[in-house]
């Protein structure tokens, strides 16, 4: 598995790709999928490690595909749409899990996690991107984690996050500022 420093953006040719994807061109659909799927998976895994992120992501893409013909907007708008749908699917899965509680972690795994994670003791350099996202989710309250993950992992702007969460941009800025201070307190001194 190769990795890219940043998720690939379609960039200048987005309009052409979108137009082709809306007609059902497989190459164009693949370009859209590859540009956002890595971020989507990381976001879903950070938000709900116990869920099958691949499954939720697949459902998200299918819902996007069904309404793709009606999409009008640029790449940022499409990115916001994908994560909006993803959050909706995530909420559905969380409700389903609450109705059918399942013990996803066996006793054997719990035995190997004695003491839990100590953020200060861990070397951040050893964390993968996915682990870093999960650590953010663990260290922050849900509303702050939501904002930070959408900004860092999904790559959305303050306005996009505000629109997606149904909050004011000022509220989002306050939440992200509180999240940074909280992370700074939890992670301790500088490296």
């Amino acid at each position: 598995m190769t990795s890219t420093p940043n998720a690939q953006r379609v960039g200048e040719g987005f309009d052409d790709v979108m137009a082709a994807a809306q007609t059902g061109a497989e190459w164009a659909v693949a370009v859209l999928y590859r540009s956002l799927q890595p971020r989507l998976l990381r976001f879903l895994r950070a938000q709900a490690p116990a869920l099958d992120a691949e499954d939720v992501a697949a459902q998200t893409w299918l819902e996007i595909a069904r309404g793709l013909a009606y999409f009008r907007g640029d790449e940022d708008g499409f990115q916001a749409l994908v994560f909006t749908v993803a959050r909706r699917r995530l909420a559905d899965h969380r409700r389903a899990v609450r109705r059918r509680p399942v013990d996803l972690v066996g006793d054997d795994n719990l035995a190997g996690m004695a003491g839990g994670r100590d953020p200060e003791a861990e070397t951040l350099a050893r964390l993968s991107g996915e682990e870093a996202a999960q650590l953010l989710s663990e260290l922050l309250p849900p509303d702050q984690a939501d904002v930070v993950l959408l900004r860092v992992v999904a790559g959305l702007s303050v306005d996009q996050v505000a629109s997606l969460l149904g909050r004011k941009p000022g509220t989002v800025r306050v939440l992200q500022h509180r999240a940074l201070r909280r992370l700074a307190r939890q992670l301790g001194d500088d490296l």
């Binding site: 598995m1 890219t4 497989e26 693949a30 799927q37 009606y70 930070v148 860092v152 500022h177 992670l187």
Partner: protein, 295 residues
């Protein structure tokens, strides 16, 4: 642990931190670990697995191909057209009915149509005016003959025509009754107006006399208008004001001669059923002694 006064990042720095544009080395004091964590969380995205990607992309293409075309306007158009068409039809219908109804009520429809409407309305108890066009021309006699440049004028209706001819002579009146002069002209060529509606006043001459047709055989179908109080209407001789002469014992035993006769054949005849004029009050039977009683 040495005390570090943690720098409070300004909004711009916070934005840059979250956007991954601030490295750990450039982070404000106290935020280097935060910057490193955020940088790691927002980078190093792996390529999607080939098999899973192909499967999902294939499903997406299928979903896109199976989705209906995004013709939102065209999909809404038929419904809009239906609604507008229905509304238009309803409005036009209401206006047409109202206008034609008002025109019919005021007699402003074309004569042939007005006659038909009046005829139809008469069946449901509505009395609408008939058309103004009347039967004229030969053999109708004009009220005022044509003069130079002036056409002849005819009676406005049947009643006026009959009156006009009655004033001329009795023969002219009889001839006029045989024609359709003055009647409304209907589209089907039949007199649309009920003659009774426009019948002239009863001739004065017959008024002075006892109606000749009273007492004519009517097959037992008595008509109170024609022979008020005639015993023919009540062969059994009971319960009619005029027949009250038959009340009392005569009514039950049929001893009254006239009542018995009428009851016998059931047919009315003025000759056989004298009118009150034929039976002056002096001849009225009394409870004590009825003429013919017991005979």
């Amino acid at each position: 642990m040495p005390f570090h006064r943690r720098h409070r990042p300004d909004p711009s720095t916070a934005d840059r931190l979250l956007a991954g544009r601030v490295g750990a080395d450039d982070a404000p004091p106290g935020y280097r670990r935060v910057a490193a964590l955020l940088d790691e969380a927002g980078s190093g995205f792996p390529e999607p697995a080939g098999s899973a990607a192909a499967k999902t992309v294939g499903a997406m293409v299928t979903a896109i191909s199976g989705a209906p075309a995004p013709e939102i306007a065209s999909r809404r158009s038929p419904m809009l057209k239906k609604v507008l068409a229905a509304k238009t039809i309803a409005v036009v219908s209401v206006l047409a009915l109202t206008a034609s109804g008002a025109a019919a009520a005021t007699g402003n429809l074309p004569d042939s149509v007005q006659d038909q409407v009046a005829k139809a309305a008469k069946h449901v108890g509505l009395n609408l005016p008939h058309g103004t066009e009347r039967v004229t021309g030969a053999p109708c006699v004009p009220a005022t003959p044509a003069t130079d440049g002036q056409p002849a004028t005819y009676a406005k209706n049947r009643g006026q025509y009959l009156k006009q001819q009655r004033d001329v002579s009795a023969e002219a009146f009889e001839e006029a009754k045989k024609t359709r002069c003055g009647m409304p002209v209907n589209s089907d060529g039949t007199p649309g107006a009920d003659e009774a509606d426009e019948a002239p006043e009863a001739p004065e001459a017959p008024k002075d006399k006892k109606p000749k047709d009273h007492g004519q055989p009517n097959g037992g179908q008595g008509n109170a208008d024609e022979a008020p109080g005639a015993p023919a209407d009540n062969p059994a001789g009971v319960d009619t004001p005029a027949g009250s002469i038959d009340t009392g014992s005569t009514a039950s035993d049929g001893a009254n001669s006239t009542g018995a006769e009428n009851a016998g054949d059931g047919s009315g005849n003025a000759e056989d059923h004298p009118t009150p004029e034929d039976h002056p009050p002096a001849d009225l039977p009394t409870p004590d002694g009825l003429p013919g009683a017991g005979s």
